[in-house]
């Protein structure tokens, strides 16, 4: 295991320190916690938004703390959901009198720990609501199981819920907006090479030089199946077909796209994937509006990518285009030509 780290035990703490050091105008760390909050808090009277999860998904989630997105991000150990006491700290910091929305990715550990934290916050008189992101179409959605995982589509939830909250909307309105995103967003990913959790010291799975893993999550979990490495256009087609089928997209639909690198896949390869996404959408006569391409929700140094489509309506489009200013996502720079 070759990693640019000092000590496997300190990885999360050191990275949080590095983030705060690199983005002092955006981030503040609640002392003694794994909680990053906005340096300049939101105005009172606006709904706070807290997200979080295991570490190892950077820039998620600390990278999305800032104007127009999150108020606080809570980090667990690598790939391990944060604990309720930490989440509670995040909720306290994010609370500006109008309640707090929790954005939770659908993993048992995350759901349970956030749920317990929500109980604790209620005990303190903090009004809370939550949404559970479950965008991964690689996993069957069934009432009788845990359902689908939450992966990169979460970033669209941050963006849109953040914009709604920034507008001064109520907690139910922010929650509804977030849920509208969740109802319309689907993702799927694959790995060309696995990742290694620092403390474990060995890869989460192994692949031969010609193999890839389809339908992976963001924790180095094995995916749905293993197959020979395919060219980018076949991968794009396969993922898009799964997603589009689940979303029941058809000619004339409007979508936003997220072409997300898993950590070790360089931008030049993501751009090639993007080109193929564009070709496919055009062929299907599906219009696209926003495209995000880069590393938004990673899995340590896994090589691979995920695709996310968000079906847009007028409302979602409006919030998606609203300005935001965070370490990882900034848009809406104003200037004269």
């Amino acid at each position: 295991m070759k990693k640019l780290i000092d000590n496997v035990e300190d990885v999360v703490n050191d990275a949080l320190e590095g983030f705060v050091w690199a983005f002092p105008e955006y981030l503040h760390r609640v002392p003694g916690t794994h909680v990053l909050v906005r340096k300049r808090p939101k105005a009172d009277g606006k709904v706070g938004i807290v997200s979080g999860g295991g570490s190892g998904h950077e820039p998620a989630h600390g990278g999305y703390v800032g104007y127009g997105m999150l108020d606080a991000a809570v980090s667990g150990e690598i790939f391990t959901s944060p604990t309720p006491d930490q989440i509670l700290e995040g909720m306290r910091a994010a609370h500006h009198g109008q309640g707090v929305l929790l954005v939770i990715k659908n993993y048992t550990g995350d759901v349970l720990n956030f749920e317990i934290a929500q109980d604790l916050a209620s005990d303190e008189g903090i009004e809370t609501a939550r949404v559970i992101v479950n965008d991964d179409v690689a996993v069957e959605d069934s009432l009788y199981t845990t359902g689908r995982r939450g992966i990169a589509g979460t970033v669209f939830v941050h963006k849109i819920a953040g914009a709604i909250a920034e507008s001064g909307a109520s907690l139910p309105a922010v929650q509804n907006g977030a849920q509208m995103v969740i109802d319309n967003v689907r993702s799927m990913g694959f790995a060309l090479a696995p990742c290694t959790v620092p403390q474990a010291g060995k890869p989460t799975f192994t692949l031969a030089e010609t193999e890839m893993e389809m339908g992976i999550g963001i924790h180095g979990e094995p995916g749905t199946h293993r197959q020979d490495v395919k060219p980018a256009h076949e991968l794009a087609e396969f993922l898009l077909e799964q997603i589009a089928q689940d979303l029941k997209l058809e000619g004339g639909s409007h979508v936003a796209c997220l072409i997300n690198g898993m950590g070790a896949t360089p931008l030049i390869e993501l751009a090639i994937l993007a080109k193929n996404v564009g070709t496919w959408l055009t062929a299907k006569q599906i219009a696209h509006d926003v495209v995000w391409m880069g590393e938004y929700m990673t899995s340590l140094e896994m090589a691979g990518a995920s695709l996310t489509l968000l079906r847009l309506n007028e409302e979602l489009r409006k919030w998606l285009h609203a300005p935001c200013d965070t370490p990882a996502l900034r848009q809406g720079v104003g200037y004269d030509y």
Binding site: E77, T80, S81, T108, L112, Q199, T204, G220
Partner: protein, 207 residues
Amino acid sequence: MTTEQFVQLWQCFGTVVRAHQEHLDDLDRAIGDGDHGTNLTRGLGKMQDLWKDPIDTERNLADLSKKVGMTLLSTVGGASGALWGSALVKAAPVLPSASACDDETLVLWIETFVSNIEERGKAQVGDKTMVDVMRPAVNWLKASTQEGSARLPVLRELARQWSEDTKDLQARRGRASYLGARSIGHVDPGSFSSALWWACVDRVLGG
């Protein structure tokens, strides 16, 4: 069960889990995210640290259950941390605010926190989780007519077997459920650590 035994039980669990950390991680790597051993070791290690100094004056089982629960809740993380932690906190009132309890109370305490795990996790026997060991174990204890200390070595072996039996199941709860049929053929890590817990129950309270 005395407070000494209570503390010994969790110290034993910490030691045994640490010894099996890599195996637990490997089990979790196969059908989860490979951190179950690391998670429990972190939390139980923290608890052992708290108890490094001569056991404090807190000769109060209810408080101890709450304390262990809170510690696990804030240090383990993941599904297992939330389940063990919150269940122990919720089950604490079942124990007396005293330095010992009888066998019946002990079983009720276990029954209560296992029920809490089931409720919180919405898992049933057969879902391929820790419940596949915890629930049959409590039920067996309740149904058993043997003496408390004599029956525990038997239960310890049964728990081990119940964990082994999760191998053939398809996961319906927890991270392994994302794998669908691919989860079949692997032992559930949480069931394995649960069996280790029963081994400690035997070691500390058994004959």
